[in-house]
């Protein structure tokens, strides 16, 4: 294998596995045939083409994951259970059982098993709400729960029981609908599990601790959702984003009372990105033009 072939093979990883197996050789052959003799470094133009082609092929494959509404609900439920697990992760030594159950819930959701995930989410949800409310439930938990790693304030110090309950209720409702559908969902990427430690990371910042990891993830994923919606005109990404936004709004609502707060600015940003994704998916300008035409055309 020449160095050029090896390097182009590396960039072909941008394509989904099935696509690579079926057509990887064909693309590689053409890349090598059209390269000038003696070339060892890939052409940047070809690299850009491979990366954008690979991402497009992945998005096209994602739109074949079953009906958009079910996949969108599954996406939202995955994001919510990932964040819920991330919220408990820094406190694992203090509440090992509940952190483990939360991890299992995320695993069941990611593997597309709503039946299995639903009781786990409801159980960890009930305990989380109890901790946030400061009432005993199931077992004895010494309050406040102090973190071991990644965070520096006690569990749910800045989140009320209502917000915690809203997040779990939304995840539970989505899983209930998926379970009622009576079939498994396609498994989701392991990247969701890999993202949990980042989402759990809360560096101590003056004057308030900042959920920097979670905020960075939310903004990156929502930007990806906008882009994927724009390219595919498919509603699944915006549906997942809306479900997540509802839970995030419940968390931010108590902080929105103070005018010009950072929370308000952040909530506006999340809402704007979600709305952009939804509008991109339904191709709003074209839909609006079609509607106007129908209204203005005499019957």
């Amino acid at each position: 294998m020449t160095p050029l072939e090896r390097r182009y093979r590396g960039f072909l990883l941008a394509y989904p596995r099935d696509y690579r197996a079926a057509h990887g050789g064909e693309l590689l052959g053409l890349l090598l045939d059209t390269a000038p003799p003696g070339r060892t470094v890939p052409d940047p133009r070809e690299v850009a083409g491979l990366v954008s082609g690979g991402v497009r092929a992945r998005l096209a494959a994602a739109t074949r994951r079953g009906p958009a509404w079910a996949d969108g609900l599954h996406l939202g439920a995955t994001a919510l259970t990932a964040v819920q697990f991330a919220a408990l992760l820094p406190y694992a030594p203090a509440i090992p059982l509940w952190t483990a159950l939360s991890a299992l819930a995320l695993l069941a959701v990611m593997r597309g098993r709503p039946f299995l995930a639903l009781p786990l989410v409801l159980l960890t949800g009930a305990k989380s709400v109890a901790i946030a409310a400061g009432t005993p439930l199931f077992d004895t938990t010494l309050l406040p729960v102090f973190p071991a790693v990644l965070a520096d304030s006690p569990l749910f110090a800045r989140t009320g029981p209502v917000a915690v309950a809203a997040g779990y209720a939304l995840a539970g409702a989505a899983l209930l609908v998926l379970a009622a559908r009576g079939r498994r969902a396609a498994p989701r990427s392991w990247w969701w599990a890999a993202a949990v430690p980042l989402a759990a990371w809360t560096p101590a910042a003056a004057p308030h601790p900042l959920d920097a990891g979670r905020i960075a993830l939310e903004l990156c994923l929502l930007a990806l959702a906008v882009w994927a919606s724009r390219l595919t005109r498919d509603p699944r990404w915006s549906l997942g984003a809306i479900l997540y936004l509802l839970a995030a709004s419940a968390t931010l609502t108590p902080h929105l009372q103070t005018p010009a707060s950072r929370h308000l600015a952040y909530w506006t940003l999340l809402t704007a990105l979600t709305a952009t994704a939804a509008l991109a998916a339904c191709d709003a300008p074209r839909a609006a033009t079609a509607l106007l035409r129908r209204l203005t055309t005499p019957a």
Binding site: E26, G29, L30, L31, D43, G49, L50, S52, G53
Partner: protein, 97 residues
């Protein structure tokens, strides 16, 4: 897409031939990258504008030959007519020198 459909009107071709023909047709102006070209071919296949005519194995690699379908032929013809009419609007207003 227009160029791909146009060169395929000559008959079935594989990726390399399509690429060469497009470069020749456009005087070297249009040179899609391999990733872009196959993205276009995949989308045209999905929409039924072209189809895989046959596959052959060259040096251990499968190579697809693409063929334009009736629907693809109709679309590229309609597009060419539309552009011809648009060009005629200008041409008819300019006196022959």
């Amino acid at each position: 897409m227009y160029f791909v459909l146009t060169v395929l009107l000559d008959g079935p071709m594989h990726g390399h031939a399509i690429m060469k023909e497009i470069a020749a047709l456009s005087g070297g102006r249009v040179r899609p990258s391999v990733g872009t070209l196959y993205g276009i071919l995949d989308r045209l296949c999905e929409r039924g504008m072209i189809t895989v005519d046959r596959e052959e194995t060259v040096q251990g690699r499968v190579r697809r030959h693409f063929r334009v379908t009736e629907a693809g032929r109709d679309v590229v013809l309609a597009e060419a007519r539309r552009m011809q009419q648009a060009a005629a609007l200008v041409m008819n207003r300019i006196q022959p020198a």
